[in-house]
Structure formats: C-alpha cells, structure tokens
C-alpha cells in the first residue's frame, strides 16, 4: 500500500493566528463597553467604521499584492489593528480622520511592508501618530465622561457630528469637549499650578481621571485574562508598568507638586491599554524573554519621559514606535543561554 509523506512532527497543533487575534479581541470587549458607557455612542460608531475601513483596505491591498484574501482576512489582525486605533481616537473624530488613520495603519505600516508578520512598527500606533502629528487640534477634542457631561449625545447626534465634522444645533465644540486628565495636567503645570491644585478639578478620580480609571480597570481585567490564557507574555505588561513606577517614584517623592504619582501615570492615558494590548503586539515587539523585559521597561520609561518633559501630554505611542525600532537589536543581544553552552550544574 502506498502513502503520502509529509515532514515531522506529526501532530495537529491547536489554534491558529486567527484564534490568537480573536482572543485579544474578546479581552478588549469589557473595556470597550466601558468606554462606550462613559464616552457615548461615538466610540462605537468610530470602532465599527474603523473595522470596516481596515478590512476593506486590507482586502484591496491583498488583491493588489496578489495574495490570497480569505486566510489573511480571517486572521482578524486587521480588525484588531482597527479596534486599537479606534480606542485611541477621540469619540467624535470626523470620519475622514478615521480613514486616514486606518489607511496609514493598514496600507502603509502593514501591507506595504509585506503584510502580517512583516511590519517592523505597530500599525495602530503608526496610524495614531500620523493623526496626532497632522491634526493635533482634532485629536484633542475628547469628550468628558458621562458624569461630567452637560449634554449626553444621542446615537444620531454622534453620527451627525462624525460625518459633518461639526456639532449641530446649538451645540459647540467648546461646550461638548473637555480636556483629558493628562492634557489638564500638562496645561496646569505650564501655568505654574501644582499637581494637587490641578487635581481639585472634578475631572480627577482616585488615581487617574474620573470614569477614565474605570475604563482602565476593565481593560486591565481583559489583559489579565490574556496572560492567564498565555496569549500574551506577562513580561511586557509587567516590565512596562514597573518601568513607569521606577522612573516616576523618585520624581514624585522629591517634588510631588510638579510630578504625578506612579498610580496617576499608570491609570492615565494609554498605559493600561498599551501595556496589555499594544506593546504586546508580537510582530513588532522583542521576542526573547530577557528582551521583553528591556522592551517593556523601555516603553514605560520613554512614556514617562515624553509625558513629563516632552511636547505631548501622552507619549506611549511614540515610546512603542521607538522601542519597535530597537526590538531587532534587543533580540540579537539577549539570546538566551543555549542548553549545554556553558557548563552548569553540581
């Protein structure tokens, strides 16, 4: 009898790229629902829009590059990129900004570099940084969390603003939007106010901003689940947060008037989402166990440096991209000790 031959191992491995990405998406759900609850329908509209744009652009690019479309669309990587980018955008960002962001993320940062697995930079962060640099004003149009909002926007109202680009009726941007906690700190400090004075504002909660910190808790919960399921390596989130703690603690102790507490830095801005969902993007991160410590800590430290002394209120996106650049070198110099390479043992 004749048989077909293949190469070993002869074992069908569980899971595939799609299941990895899907699990990350599941983990994002609680935090995303919380974001919608606190910041309104705009979040959901932008999320859906970004996913539609991303999947369409991915399909078009795969077609142009002559690659099979189905296996690469069903890997859910484009959906994940769009989702992470959407979470970074203000809840009422105009539709064309979403499109530009997704275009740079999917087409430029991912497909032009060779598609899944070949992108040196985190696509979502490329899309976000392009928007942040090009449209700084629009990118700061954040809404207040629901308990501070004077006017709760309905679904149609949000849709209208996103597609027309301006608030309708008697609403104005000034009435609708509010600074983010990190913006508030940055502006306050530049006006020579102390952190404790700035924190008098109703915007702030226990650690970070009101509402904001609860959103972070839900995202962290999803992150813990991902670590438990071994979808992401625990080293990157832990080292990232440790990096922030290590650099922020001495400044906070020495000068609490000008520097936020470690807890404030962890619960504000992009740190929690970044630590669990963005820095852990395997393609652009370091892959060695030791390298992941350096990579995560580097992002934490750079984020703090940019926040405290740089021109932007938050710096995680830049920190991620900078460490993406360093990842191949980190990997090369942090090769683990190979079995039997140096004598060990009793």
């Amino acid at each position: 009898m004749q048989f077909k031959t293949t190469s070993s191992p002869y074992i069908s491995s569980a899971g595939d790229v799609g299941s990895v990405m899907r699990q990350v998406l599941y983990a994002l759900v609680p935090g995303t629902l919380a974001t919608i609850w606190y910041f309104g329908w705009g979040v959901l509209i932008i999320l859906i829009m970004a996913i539609l744009f991303a999947v369409s652009l991915e399909a078009i690019m795969l077609k142009l590059r002559g690659r099979p479309i189905k296996p690469f669309i069903t890997d859910y990587s484009a959906v994940l990129t769009a989702w992470l980018l959407a979470l970074a955008l203000p809840p009422l960002a105009p539709w064309w900004m979403v499109l530009i962001g997704v275009f740079f993320a999917i087409v430029v940062a991912k497909q032009l570099y060779g598609g899944l697995g070949y992108n040196p930079f985190n696509p979502a962060m490329i899309g976000y940084v392009v928007l942040l640099i090009s449209f700084p004003l629009e990118m700061t149009n954040w809404l207040p969390p629901r308990m501070l909002a004077e006017h709760q926007l309905g679904f149609m109202e949000s849709l209208g603003i996103i597609f027309s680009g301006t608030p309708t009726g008697n609403l104005t941007w000034d009435a609708l939007t509010m600074a983010t906690p990190l913006d508030e700190v940055k502006t306050g400090l530049s006006l020579d106010r102390t952190i404790s004075e700035i924190r008098q504002s109703p915007l702030f909660g226990d650690f970070g901003g009101q509402g904001w910190e609860w959103v972070r808790n839900w995202f962290a919960l999803g992150g813990f689940w991902l670590i438990y399921k071994k979808v992401i390596d625990w080293r990157i989130p832990v080292s990232l947060i440790l990096g922030i703690v290590i650099i922020s603690t001495p400044f906070f102790i020495l000068n609490p008037d000008s520097y936020g507490s470690p807890a404030f830095h962890i619960f504000s801005g992009a740190v929690i989402v970044g630590a669990f969902y963005i820095a852990t993007d395997p393609v652009s991160a370091s892959t060695t166990p030791m390298g992941r410590w350096i990579y995560g800590a580097g992002i934490g430290i750079l984020t703090y440096i940019i926040r405290s002394w740089g021109g932007y209120p938050d710096g995680l996106a830049f920190a991620v991209l900078l460490m993406n650049m360093a990842a191949p070198m980190i990997d090369y110099y942090t090769k683990p000790r190979v079995f039997g390479q140096r004598r060990q043992g009793p």
Partner: protein
Amino acid sequence: MELHLPNRLWHFHGGLHPEQHKGFTRDKPIRSSTLPDQLILPLQQHIGAEAEACVQVGDTVYKGQPVATASGYVSASLHAPTSGTITGIEDRPLPHPSGLSGTCIVIEPDGRDEWWPERPAPVDDYLALDPADIRQRVRDAGIVGLGGAAFPTAVKLNPPSRHQIDTLIINGAECEPYITCDDRLMRERADLVIEGVRIIRQALGIQRVLIGVEDNKPEACDAIEQCIKDKKLKDMKLLRVPTIYPTGGEKQLIKVLTGREVPSNGLPADIGVVCHNVGTAASVYRAIAHGEPMVSRIMTVTGKGVNAPCNLEVLIGTPISHLVAQAEGYTDQAERLIMGGPMMGFAMSSDEVPVIKGTNCILVARSNEVENPVQAMPCIRCGRCTSVCPANLLPQEMYWNARARDFDKIQDYNLFDCIECGCCAAVCPSHIPLVQYYRFAKTEIWALERAKDKSDHARERHEFRLERLEREKKEKAERLAKKKAALAAKKSKDGKTKDEDAKKAAIAAALERAKAKKVQAEVQPKNTDDLTEAQQRQIDEAESRRKALSEHKATPEEASEP
C-alpha cells in the same frame, strides 16, 4: 559504601504535554510476531559505517549466524534473524525519510528457526566477565541503541579513558506519544532489563545507576523498583520523572536526573555519564547470558489506521506490511504511515520496507490527526516556540535566517544545538513546518562545507597547474627566442625583403594621418582663451600656489621612498 543517589530532580527549559495516545497499546502484552515470507536486512541500519555482507546468494544460514560484519569501529554486524536461504543481496527501498534504496540481504525463512550451532555459549556467571570480554560479545552480537538513534552499543561501553565516567543512566522515559514498547518491556521483563544494566555497569567499571522512567508508566516503575529490591541491588535507583516531552531525549534526561548539561557539540561522557536505553540493556543481557545476537526487537504497531494495535516482538527485517497484517490490517482511516513516534518519526510512502534495529513504532494515522489541514501563515513572532524549546534556542530567529538562506547568521543562533524534537512546530499558531526549515539549513551547511573542502582541493590543483603552465610557457619562450636568434642571424645575411618595405610605408602613412588630426584638435578654442587680464592673473596666482604646494608635498614623500 553506598554512592550518593539523588532524591531530587532537575528540569530542562520548555517542553510540551502532547496528547499521549498510549491507551491504544499500553495494556497489550508483548506478542511474538509470526514468520514473514521474507526478511530484508539493510546493511546500513545503525550510525556509522555500513556492514559488509559475508554471505552469498544461495547460502543457507542458521538463526543468529552473521550475514554481514562490522566494517569499522563504529559499525555493527548483522545476523540472520531466522534460519533460511539467502535469496538476494540487492537494492531495496530503505526505511529512511529520503525514501532511497540501499543494499539489503534478503532471506527466505525455512520455517525451522534453527539456531546457529557456532553461536557464543551462554554465560551463567556473566558478572564475572572482563569488561573487554563483555564489549567484544556485545560487538559480536551486533547490538545498537534501541531508543531510535541506533548507535553501536559496544562503542558506548568503551568511553575514551580521558573521561571519568561515574554514572550510568538507563533511559526508560519513552516520552513520544503512542509508543509503549519500553513500557511493556519493563512491566513484563524487568528482570532482563536489570540484569542487562548490571552487565553494562560491569563493562563500564562503575556502580552508580539512575533509571529514568516517566511517571505516566506507574506499573513499569513498580516492576523495576520491585526487581531492584528483590535483588537487593545497591547504587541503583529508579526515578520517576515528570511526563514532559522530550524528557526521553538523552541530553534532557541526563539533565533531569543529574542536573548536568551535556556541552554543546559534546558527548555525555564529557560530563561523566553514559546513557543506554532499557531495550538495549535487555538485548545486552540476552547476548551475553543466552548467546543470542540481536535478531529481534519489541515494537509498537498503533494508531487509528490499524484494526488491532499491539506490541510485538519482531524479527529484524520483517516487512511492515506483515506487521500490519498481525494488527488485523488497515482500517479505512489509514492515510499516513509513520516510522517512530509522531514527534520525531518520519513518514514513509510504502509498507514494503522492513523493520530495522532502531524501529520502535509503526504509527498508521488519519491525515488530520497528524498534520494541520490549513496552510502555513507568516510568523507573527509570538515566541511560543521559544518558550517550548528544550535546547533554549530562538526557533523564530532560526526560521527567519533559514528562509533568508543566511547560513552564517543561523549558526549564531546555534542551529546545530537543535535536536529536532518538533516542539516548536507543534505549538506554532502559524503552522510553519519549522523543523523542516532547520533540517534544510543543516543540510545546506553540510553541503557548503563539503563544497568548500572540494573547492579548496580544486584550487590547490588549479594553482599547481597554473604554475606548471607558466613554467612551460617560459621554457617554450626561451626555446623560441633561441630559434629566432638563430633565424635572424641567418636573415641579416639575406637583406630586407620587399614585403617588409610595403609594411613600413603603410605604418608611416598612418602616423602622418594621426599627426594631422592632433594638430587640428589643438587649434580648437579653449574656454580659457578669452580671458580678461584680471582673470588670467588670478589663474596664474592659483597655478603658482598649487605648484608650490605640490612641490612642498612631494618632497617628504619622495624622501620617504627608498
């Protein structure tokens, strides 16, 4: 004085818990296989030099009579597994991943199964034998490691004197899924194993023995422990090791039992350890105590592709189709035929190949059990392979470099420390056939090294040839010059020929033409012709400065020249 026997275990990095699938055969007692119509003995079924046939077609042989002799120190002889007639010494397909053919001795059994009268006499007092005597008997019996690698056992019983061996490790881990032959051997014939271990210990001149068995085989552990206890053996201990694939890898088991790491590019003997498989120990016992050379082995025939999975004691050379028949034939799910376990075995295209000394398992499986139905995706660098690699390598980096054919860089990542256990490929979410890439890279590097050796040799020959040609040319030129001189001397007497005059006139005309052209070129205006006085002055000044500078610069340089 009793030697130190450890109570603790160490562990190695990574590893996997693949599905065991041992339930197919773990409770099936070892059965003797029936005689096939034909036995096929490849001359190469061990690591080392191919054996040399010492019989002719048409010869009648007895069971246990040598049919091929070891052709070097690292080689193993072959014996007729039963009595019969040699019907051929010819090329047959080999049980090898390449699917290539090789020389095999083909025996047609006569059914009498008669032992060779001249075989070594059984030794009752085998523990009194001299180590050299044991080694010679093991060598004559053609024993090779039964764990799979089939390295000649006699060589491993004779470690170079520079090594201080202190521990014998007996490998009964059997970590590959599906396989249960060592499990059954230990459960049913613990006595043979232990006596074999005592002989090996005697041959090595050491006392300390650690037997490693995975804790998924409690009956086997109990049987061996009971046997050690009954015989009141000292300095011998069974250790139940955690069931983690690939604990049965030699390097991994040594690490788990002793905490020592076999150095990269090194041997267990470098760290004072010699490792043998339980099956090998039993064969050593039979060879010495019963005078039976290695003519059979125990193996597992299993998987959903056979009707009655079983453990069989088979004669070396039995065709696989014959074994499948004893497992009551193929089921309709027989889609892949694998020799060895699913992690490190290899698929075969035909069941007409024979069992060889290293064959521990035949797995007949459904295709979707043993391979991924979906296509490979790009590597997303998730690092799962890194976390399971028992050699602590970076499989994803080796993969990138193998793909890029960067064979220098891939060696930076210690490609040759890869034991091809398959853990990385088994966990890869992109379903990349990683091990295949490493085998490809290793083969390419070996080929490049061979080519380099060849080209070095060729270059030397080429240089030698050039030298010779140069010498010959010189000699020829000298001869020619001599001849010419002689001719010229003769010509000067005759005067110039007419032909030479015509040539000279033509050359003169050509020179004239060239001269005219040059003059014409000089008349053409330069862009420095129409200069104002001031410009001309500037140019002159610059020229003089440059001249001065270059003279100044030239002096020290010239001075430095010899």
